[in-house]
Amino acid sequence: MPASVDPEEGSGAEDDEALMRRVAAGDHPAFQALARRHFHRTLLLAERMMGRRVDAEEIAQETFLRIWQHAGRWRPSLGKLNTWLYRVTVNLCLDRLRRPRDLHLDLMEDAEDPGVDTERQVAAQEMSRRVAAAVAELPGRQRAALVLCYHQELTNAEAAEVLAISVWALEALLVRARRTLRSKLKTLGEDLGETR
């Protein structure tokens, strides 16, 4: 199920708008308030896109540096701040995914459940690694569509806006992504039955 929501979040679009106006004028406390509100979900998005903590941390920080430097470019007419923020993050992720890199994924390293016995834990970790590897092999935009709709809980219209595509194009990306994953993980049902 989707990850927990940052308790400091929950602001309305008007609050974001007012804060962004102050940030554009160089108001650093306003920037701090904005960063506290949105950093958590930005980091989650980057982690799920990249699969590597180091990359995700750099991208989340770079996103907020850009907000500080380019706040004047944002207009309420361009959409919700969240959408703009996610667009910057996704673009940074896609840019980095184009670079050659090794396929080591460390997203799952700390996702252990201390409540289950070692054998089941090892099997669960193996399953997590397979899922992470399968997702990492998806083309960047398919991965972005999946993460935005599935994990970030955006509506299809919001996710399409982030990716600057139509809702139909987004749906096509989602279908391709899920079909690819399903074929790569076709024995998953049985394995999940064992490890659940």
Partner: protein, 142 residues
Amino acid sequence: MKVEAFRRLLDAYGGDPKRWPGKRRQAALALLEISAEAREAQAEACTLDCALDRLAPPVESRRVARLLSTVIEETRAIASSGPIIIPDPIDPWWWRSAAILGAAACLGFLIGFTVLNGPVPVQTARVDVFNLGMGPLVRLEQ
């Protein structure tokens, strides 16, 4: 909704009705009530959903706090070293400045061009025009 359309919906949004777009959700839920095939397809989709849930480990609040403080410190350092003005193409102020600079450049070019290629003395000009038009004729007369 037919089962094929329902399968397409599952292929895009997974088995959780919460993620289904509002317009199709009602029709899909109605189909689920009457179709065993649809229920089976939904169960299959939920298997993949379970797998994807594993990609969403919580981010520790301590780590978020550490990264956040780094960002805040970095931006504060930038702020204290003076504002960075990046031209905003939508901002009218930027356009006005660019237009003034452009107009000044054009004016400078025009003045420079006029001075360098200033008015030719009238006598010389007449001779030149005569030579251009009647050059060969004059030479014949000589």
